[in-house]
């Protein structure tokens, strides 16, 4: 099944004869009752390695981490950490869970001190190390703040400090960046790379595949087994394909046209925001074929680039081969939507103050029927507060809101029946079955009895849950819950739809399916307000606003936003990306430099003049630039620039 068997591909960066492997798993198995979560995992991780675990929800990643951390017993197989059983190695382990395990009612310093106490850190060492770590992650001004009052990104950095306070040799990270914004995510990974450089072994699971590209080796697991294992290059080469990055006027129609052509050259066609990634055996032939096909359909092409496949390409392709691409079934619409272009939501000078904290400052928005509006911003920028005010859950401190033609009583029942709302996490009742949840939402939104079976079936089919509708919702992996929750929030065909991070924790294939459905609803005339931390998804939005510290700092269509970015973006590949990034951040303004997977993105005002200087700086540190070429801004580049520049001001 898999192209590689794990044993064959033990490519380890620092193998030395005398070193004990940091982690050895030999045929690891774990069952919960009848359910086999992990079915024979074998892997060896060397000291100082950054090892990535990727896979869809429910692949067995969390279980593996729990066994490695010694907090759960394996059913069978051998596990050794630093040459010992995990329980005996616990003091040399740092373990970050998805929920961070922080005491929200303790301050930053108290959390740190407690972790140090747990792990027998001597006072003297703590006194030296605690300020150092806090300074490293930029938390030193917040030593007295309670952990519960930190933003998601800061919590995660604190959790990292707590794990690092005892100088562990192995760091286990179970999707610590889920729901964290792109800037904070990068900062977090910069820290991890620095930690690994000191010889700490890092094993990390992540839903963001660009993060996984920063790992030295990556294991792709699903179904409780390792399907592929190797370095990024290994995984890419295993595909044996080239990637064509196609930018066309209308990505969606272009994709349809290419799919419809049925050309054998197009092994896989994947949408990434404003571009199509087409995997082809031969780049030159493929490109010709693409140009021909699109010309036939009179679809203008902006650019075609040839490049190596990304990890996400690999991941999506492998999962599609597995047949786990969720089906696309169009929603059974029963009544016509609102006329497109009419105003659905407007706000003027929207403000919200909690105590002394101004969460939202003077927000003006207009969203029309048929429009997808993306509200983007770092954690804690005030996006969720805006949504809650718009749908009448929170009264604004001041400002004007008009929702579905209603200005006064936003929480009136008939207004609410025209709104769909999917909150960040908790849409479904864990203690009900999937079917009971769906029936409940149909009933409470007044979907007529005769239409209910059809709509419920649509949700079940879309989520691939037919035959499992009597499963307790609590037992579903997080990504699947999100899909059901989305279904539950649209069954009554709302005119206005609020989606707060709908795709958080959802695997790449299902995310694509999500957006197809969202576009369908918009097409039918639904006004949609959505937040997300996956910026390439945000390309689907017609308009968007970037929020920083409660304010909308930039607004417009994706192309407006990208077009308004200062300077020229240059993509580089170097021998040592991390070191290069650290150096350049020091020399240039920090917002100009960021790591994208195995590339560096640098914003330069005048590339022709500045590039040679950069080359010199890097050369002085023995870093070589393999390639550097100007590329168009992606939304993620724009996001990083906007957010970081606004934070500097």
């Amino acid at each position: 099944m898999s192209a590689f068997s794990p044993e064959q591909t033990v490519v380890s960066p620092r193998t030395s004869a005398e070193s004990v492997p940091a982690i050895t798993l030999q045929n690891l198995r774990k069952s919960y009752g009848n359910l086999e979560a992990v079915k024979g995992l074998s892997v060896v991780v060397q000291p100082g390695e950054i090892f990535g675990l990727i896979g869809p929800d429910g692949a067995g990643k969390t279980t593996t981490f729990q066994i490695l951390a010694g907090v759960m017993e394996a059913t069978a197989g051998e596990v050794s950490v630093l040459g010992k059983p995990p329980r005996e190695a616990r003091l040399n382990l740092g373990y970050l869970t998805q929920k961070f395990s922080l005491y929200t009612d303790l301050s930053v310093m108290e959390n740190l001190r407690y972790s140090a106490g747990l792990r027998r850190v001597p006072d003297a060492q703590f006194a030296k190390r605690a300020p150092y770590l806090l300074q490293q992650v930029g938390l030193e001004p917040f030593g007295d703040r309670r952990a519960g009052q930190l933003s998601g990104g800061m919590k995660q950095k604190l959790a990292l400090c707590c794990a690092l306070i005892a100088n562990p040799s192995v760091l286990l990270l179970d999707e610590p960046t889920t729901g964290v914004d792109p800037v904070s995510r990068r900062e977090f990974w910069d820290l991890l790379t620095a930690v690994a450089a000191e010889g700490v072994t890092v094993v990390a699971a992540t839903p963001y595949l660009d993060e996984a590209e920063r790992c030295q080796r990556i294991a792709l697991i699903y179904g409780g087994e390792i399907q592929q294992l190797g370095s990024l290059a290994n995984l890419r080469d295993s595909l044996g394909l080239q990637r064509l990055e196609v930018r066309a006027g209308d990505v969606a129609t272009a994709e349809q046209a290419l799919q419809a052509s049925g050309a054998p050259e197009f092994v896989d066609i994947q949408t990434f925001g404003d571009r199509l990634d087409i995997l082809v055996p031969d780049a030159a032939q493929g490109e010709q074929r693409v140009r021909d096909t699109l010309a036939q359909h009179q679809i203008p092409i902006n650019s075609v680039r040839q490049d190596a496949p990304t990890l996400e390409n690999v991941f999506v392709n492998r999962l599609r081969q597995q047949g786990s691409d969720p089906p696309y079934i169009s929603f059974p619409m029963k009544h016509a939507g609102k006329p497109k272009g009419d105003i659905a939501i407007t706000t003027q000078g929207l403000e919200k103050v909690f105590g002394t904290f101004q969460a939202v400052k003077g927000v003006d928005l207009t969203i029309r029927y048929g429009e997808i509006y993306g509200l983007l911003g770092a954690n804690g920028a005030g996006k969720t507060t805006v949504i809650k005010m718009l749908c009448g859950l929170l009264p604004p401190t001041s400002g004007h809101i008009e929702l579905a033609g209603e200005t006064a009583n936003l929480s009136r029942a008939d207004v609410r029946s025209r709104i769909g709302y999917m909150s960040q996490k908790f849409t479904l009742y864990d203690d009900l079955t999937i079917l009971q949840n769906l029936t409940f939402y149909c009933g409470v939104y007044g979907v007529p009895q005769r239409l209910q079976p059809e709509k419920i079936n649509w949700v079940l089919e879309t989520c691939g849950l037919q035959g499992r509708e009597h499963t307790l919702t609590a037992s579903l992996p997080g990504g699947w819950k999100q899909r059901v929750a989305f279904g539950a929030s649209v069954m009554h065909e709302p005119d206005i739809l609020f989606l707060d991070e709908p795709t958080s924790g959802v695997d790449p294939l299902a995310r694509r399916q999500f957006w197809r459905l969202i576009r369908d609803f918009a097409h039918r005339g639904t006004a949609i307000l959505v937040t997300t931390h996956y910026l390439e998804e945000a390309e689907n939005c017609h308009n968007m606003g970037f929020m920083v510290a409660g304010e909308v700092v930039a607004q417009g269509s994706p192309s407006d936003i990208k077009g308004n970015q200062p300077g020229q973006l240059v993509e580089m590949q170097t021998t040592q990306n991390q070191a290069a990034s650290d150096l350049l951040k020091h020399r240039l303004e920090p917002w100009r430099v960021s790591i994208f997977g195995d590339r560096l993105h640098i914003v330069l005002d005048n590339p022709d003049q500045e590039l040679p200087t950069l080359r010199q700086w890097l050369q002085a540190e023995d870093i070589t630039i393999h390639a550097a070429e100007p590329i168009p801004f992606s939304l993620e580049d724009a996001f990083i620039g906007i957010v970081q520049r606004a934070n500097v001001d």
Partner: protein
């Protein structure tokens, strides 16, 4: 018909069905509805007994005469006292009282018998441990009564009847001729059980939505606040009514309570009281932010409710301030209703004040909760 159809296809029905499914899934609630009420009723009914019998009596008999032995026999005759130790000296007897080993000590002086035979007053000393003021008072009363009887016995020939007094008090105990203490406690405890279980279960189902975060989602549906709450109330109400039946079955079968009043009226008024309890629980849940707070505040409310209700200690004995305060205690009214309907045979005409009070409390709690419900997120 149309109304019924609307009800069963509408939002309210969807909400009620969801709540019922959740409750049935939650083993803990089912357990909570069955176990504590049963245990509480049994423990209260069996363990609380104010009767004063078998008090440990120590005797220091310096007289060692037939008369002194007769006095001791008179004291232990009706089981109020039992002699547990004979001591040599008054000091030793005092030590026994001090160590808490005996409740009362009787000191009979050496010249007791002689003084009696000389027709002089013969003092004996009774030391009573006053730590338990209630028991001490009753013990004191008994000692005096028994000694009185003993004295009357001395004036008449040993074989004859004691002379009858000019006024004989003929005491009849109404409703509870056997003076069974369980008959007093059980109706009160039914009220206590309903209060504790009802308020705890209802506050739990509401606070859980807030804790987990589904409340937001629920508030975004077109369902009105009263519909959401009504849906929470209806299944709990049915289950708690089951508790009423369970409690009355226990009362009837285990404690043999007479249920002299109209049982349907008892059920109906219990149902009214259930609304008060559920209303209180939901009200507390709208005040609190998390489970911990709701539980602590419900403690804060329930303890006074129970103690001022007369379920355990009689209201008449309370200081005037608390006696008046108890009028604002819904449980007091329910306990009065339950005792009246279970032990006495009375009707609405005797209970209307209590019924009215319960109705007012029910409307008040539910009304305030519905009002607060939507506002609680901000």
């Amino acid at each position: 018909m149309n109304f019924l159809r609307r009800l069963f296809s509408g939002r309210l029905w969807a909400l009620i069905r969801k709540e019922t499914q959740q409750i049935l899934r939650n083993k803990q609630i089912v357990f909570l509805l069955l176990f504590p009420p049963t245990v509480q009723l049994l423990v209260f009914g069996l363990a609380l007994n104010p009767e004063v019998t078998g008090l440990d009596l120590g005797v220091a008999d310096y007289s060692r005469s037939a008369d002194s032995r007769e006095l001791v026999a008179a004291l232990v005759e009706n089981d109020v006292f039992q002699v547990s130790t004979f001591e040599e000296s008054q000091a030793a007897l005092g030590d026994q009282v001090r160590a808490g080993r005996i409740t009362a000590g009787l000191v009979i002086p050496p010249d007791f018998s002689q003084e009696l035979s000389e027709n002089q007053a013969a003092p004996v000393q009774v030391l009573v441990d006053g730590v338990d003021a209630n028991t001490a008072g009753i013990a004191q009363g008994y000692v005096e009564q028994i000694v009185n009887r003993y004295n009357q016995g001395l004036t008449t020939p040993p074989s004859g009847q004691p002379e009858s007094l000019p006024i004989e008090t003929q005491v009849t105990f109404l409703y509870n001729p056997g003076l069974l203490s369980s008959w007093f406690f059980v109706p009160g405890v039914i009220g206590v059980v309903l209060t504790l279980t009802g308020s705890l279960v209802s506050s739990t189902t509401v606070i859980r939505e807030k804790d987990v975060g589904t409340l937001e989602q629920l508030l975004m549906t077109p369902a009105a606040g009263w519909e959401i709450l009504m849906a929470k109330i209806v299944p709990l109400f049915v289950l708690l009514l089951g508790d009423v039946l369970l409690a009355s079955a226990l009362a009837r079968l285990v404690f043999d309570l007479p249920f002299r009043g109209n049982y349907l009226l008892f059920l109906g008024l219990s149902a009214l009281y259930l609304f008060v309890c559920i209303g209180l629980g939901i009200f507390l849940a709208t005040l609190a932010e998390n489970q911990q707070q709701v539980v602590l505040t419900s403690f804060f409310f329930n303890v006074p409710l129970i103690q001022l209700s007369g379920a355990i200690a009689p209201i008449e004995s309370m200081p005037p301030f608390f006696r008046h305060l108890s009028f604002f205690d819904p449980l007091r009214h329910y306990v009065q209703i339950a005792r009246s309907l279970i032990l006495k045979d009375v009707g609405i005409d005797a209970l209307w004040v209590n019924i009215l009070a319960l109705a007012i409390f029910a409307i008040l709690f539910l009304g305030v909760s519905i009002n607060r419900f939507r506002a609680q997120l901000s």
